[in-house]
């Protein structure tokens, strides 16, 4: 049998593969369970022992997106035959749909606040990281440490001062307030990550562009940004995931207009008994944007675009 330093042998590969698959299964099971629960009936969702094979229903999704009132037989009759498929699902449980729920709004809030803060974080973070990477900033090391130190305590530790500050500024329960807050929390991470990526880009590229007739800003825009795309994409994913999943500040600082989906989803539990399928449906839909975003940016994460262009 030949031995190679770079190429692992067959059994090693099998073992590695098995480990990866096992890990994947372990991490994916809860996710699959939530997705499956979204399609269960309330009875199936709490049955013991848990059911794996069940008859799928959209009841959870209907309950998630609608407000319903419990109706007497008279009222049901008065309402006439169900107009739509979701009416029908509601009628089976003896309820009448009284209107859309607020999940849609909350979800939209999450999108606005999550992507808004990520965008702001990227713009400010890239600019700051570029400056720290390229210019002789006075007290550079101290400033960088100071920026990092904002991450040394859990953000929620400053929740009360922030609450008071927001109240005085009229930012409580506003989109702008939440965007600013999440940007502030994420900015330190994004400056540090992006500085690392920009440090890796040889300064000669910009100098070549400067000599080729571009201004400093054009050189940044046309040469540095495309090179930093990988770093910006991965940093954006980190920022989005934080802002998207954030719960504590959202509970504390939002109630009506700017409430995001995370604090809203548990509210569903309390409305009409323990409606686990609706909660699971809410969680499933909530997963989608981050997954799509990550998958879209995946190619940037994997592509080493500077490979070979500069000899080191």
């Amino acid at each position: 049998m030949s031995f190679s330093v770079t190429e692992p042998n067959k059994s090693t590969k099998w073992f590695a593969g098995l480990l990866v698959v096992t890990y994947a299964v372990v991490t994916i099971i809860p996710l699959l369970w939530i997705i499956a629960t979204g399609f269960k009936s309330p009875a199936d969702s709490i049955s013991y022992p848990p059911v794996v094979v069940f008859e799928p229903t959209l009841e959870g999704y209907v309950n998630l997106f609608t407000d319903r009132t419990r109706a007497t037989d008279d009222m049901l009759e008065a309402a006439g035959p169900p107009q739509t498929w979701y009416d029908e699902i509601a009628r089976k449980r003896g309820t009448i749909i009284s209107g859309p729920s607020r999940y849609g709004e909350r979800f939209l809030n999450s999108v606005i606040i999550g992507f808004g803060s990520t965008f702001l974080c990227m713009v400010l973070g890239t600019a700051a990281a570029y400056a720290f990477s390229r210019f002789r900033v006075p007290l550079k090391d101290d400033l960088l440490f100071f920026i990092l130190s904002t991450r040394m305590m859990p953000p929620i530790a400053v929740a009360i001062p922030i609450f008071l500050m927001f109240r005085n500024l009229g930012l409580n329960d506003t989109h702008l307030g939440m965007i600013l807050l999440y940007t502030a929390v994420n900015l330190s991470l994004s400056v540090w990550l992006l500085k690392g990526f920009i440090d890796e880009i040889p300064i000669e590229y910009e100098e070549a562009a400067l000599i080729d007739g571009y201004t400093r800003f054009q050189a940044f825009y046309k040469v540095v940004l495309p090179q930093a795309a990988t770093g910006i994409a991965s940093t954006a994913i980190f920022c989005l995931i934080f802002a998207w999943n954030e719960y504590a500040f959202a509970v504390l600082l939002t109630s009506g207009t700017a409430q995001t989906a995370p604090p809203f989803i548990p509210n569903i539990i309390g409305v009409n008994g323990k409606d686990w399928p609706a909660v699971a449906a809410g969680a499933t839909i909530f997963l989608v944007p981050v997954m799509v975003f990550t998958v879209l940016l995946r190619k940037h994460l994997l592509r080493g675009i500077t490979f070979g262009a500069v000899r080191k």
């Binding site: 070549a208 400067l210 080729d212 007739g213």
Partner: protein, 365 residues
């Protein structure tokens, strides 16, 4: 094309002084070498000429116009980086046309120009390729293409061959020199390789610790170094130094140490104290009859010549003699120095003493 003049240029990075008051002129069409060990300020000087660094004080003239504080984009010069710095997200053709597009040249015209340049450099077949997979030589050619496509006033090159392997470097340096001769473009070239500088340059500036040590044509610098540093930095093996305490008088053509009087070019300068007698290895002959003696410590065979390391009472020296001379380690022999080629230095200041031979050459910068 243009003449470039540097006047009293100085550069400080915080407390560190990278370049101290340099002054020299690069004539139109010259292939000009900035030579020195790493950290000597040669790259900083080049970058100030290019506009990538601003001088702390002093003036830089390109074509008679003071450009010291102008941004690089307004100086109409081209720069070739050691690391090539090709834009990795563009293909070869786009890399070359980039400076044209940035000047607002119409695309069709730029494409035509790129093809002309590619023809000159012999890279027409790779114009569509990404720069990532190119060999070192091709990358170098693309970098050159990007520089010459614009017909700039001057070319600045920062160790452009430094990233190539030795064999290919030789070839590229010939190509570069041939390209220069055809285009007759003022070229400033930074290198730490004295052979490269001698081989390619019309003129050389030797720098050390931010100071211009000497400025002139390669042969003058080799034959008549202005300082001990230049004498040591240029030539392989470098100039030999025989250190002694004594004196040499103005107008004399003899110097005495180790009980031997040596003939030297007639001095125009006198000095007393610690002196250095400098002689190039190829100007030493082994001659049993000569009164100055040394002991052979080592012999290196180099084909047509051999390098003999000798111990003398004034220090170790190396002589380059024909391979046909039979020399054995441990032997004692006489040494004869070619009187016309001797340089005398003040050992304390490191400066060469003026003589009839080097009078016309010495420029301290």
């Amino acid at each position: 094309m243009a003449q470039i003049r540097i006047e009293n240029v100085r550069k400080d990075f915080g407390a560190f002084n990278a370049v101290k008051s340099s002054t020299f002129t690069i004539e139109d069409g010259e292939f000009f070498m900035l030579l020195g060990p790493s950290g000597c300020g040669k790259t900083t000087t080049l970058r100030m000429m290019a506009g990538l660094e601003l001088p702390t004080s002093g003036e830089i003239f390109i074509d008679g116009e003071e450009v010291g504080m102008k941004p690089a984009s307004q100086r109409d010069i081209a720069f070739v980086f050691q690391m090539f710095a090709l834009y990795p997200h563009l293909n070869v053709g786009k890399n070359i046309s980039y400076p044209l597009i940035s000047q607002g040249m119409p695309k069709a015209q730029a494409t035509k120009k790129v093809h002309e340049i590619a023809e000159i450099l012999g890279i027409t077949d790779i114009l569509k390729k990404p720069v990532g997979g190119l060999s070192g030589g091709d990358r170098q050619r693309v970098a050159l293409g990007r520089a010459i496509v614009r017909d700039p006033k001057a070319f600045f090159m920062d160790e452009p061959l430094g990233a190539l392997d030795a064999e290919f470097r030789e070839h590229m340096s010939e190509e570069l020199r041939a390209l220069h001769d055809r285009m007759n473009a003022t070229t400033v070239y930074v290198t730490h390789d004295q052979l490269e500088a001698m081989q390619m340059g019309d003129k050389i500036v030797v720098m050390n610790h931010g100071v211009v040590e000497q400025f002139g044509v390669p042969q003058d610098i080799y034959d008549w170094p202005a300082t001990k540093f230049v004498a040591q930095f240029i030539g392989s093996p470098p100039m030999n130094f025989l250190e002694f305490r004594g004196m040499v008088g103005n107008g004399e053509s003899k110097v005495r140490f180790g009980d031997v009087a040596f003939e030297i070019p007639r001095m125009l300068d006198g000095a007393n104290g610690d002196l250095t007698f400098g002689v190039r290895p190829e100007h030493i002959k082994l001659d049993d009859a000569a009164p100055y003696r040394g002991e052979v410590a080592a012999v290196e065979y180099l084909g047509t010549t051999q390098i003999i390391t000798m111990k003398t009472s004034n220090g170790t020296i190396k002589a380059r003699v024909p391979s046909s001379d039979v020399v054995k380690v441990g032997e004692r022999t006489g040494l004869h120095f070619d009187a016309r080629t001797i340089s005398m230095f003040n050992a304390d200041t490191g400066q060469a003493l003026k003589s009839e031979a080097n009078e016309g050459v010495l420029t301290y910068g």
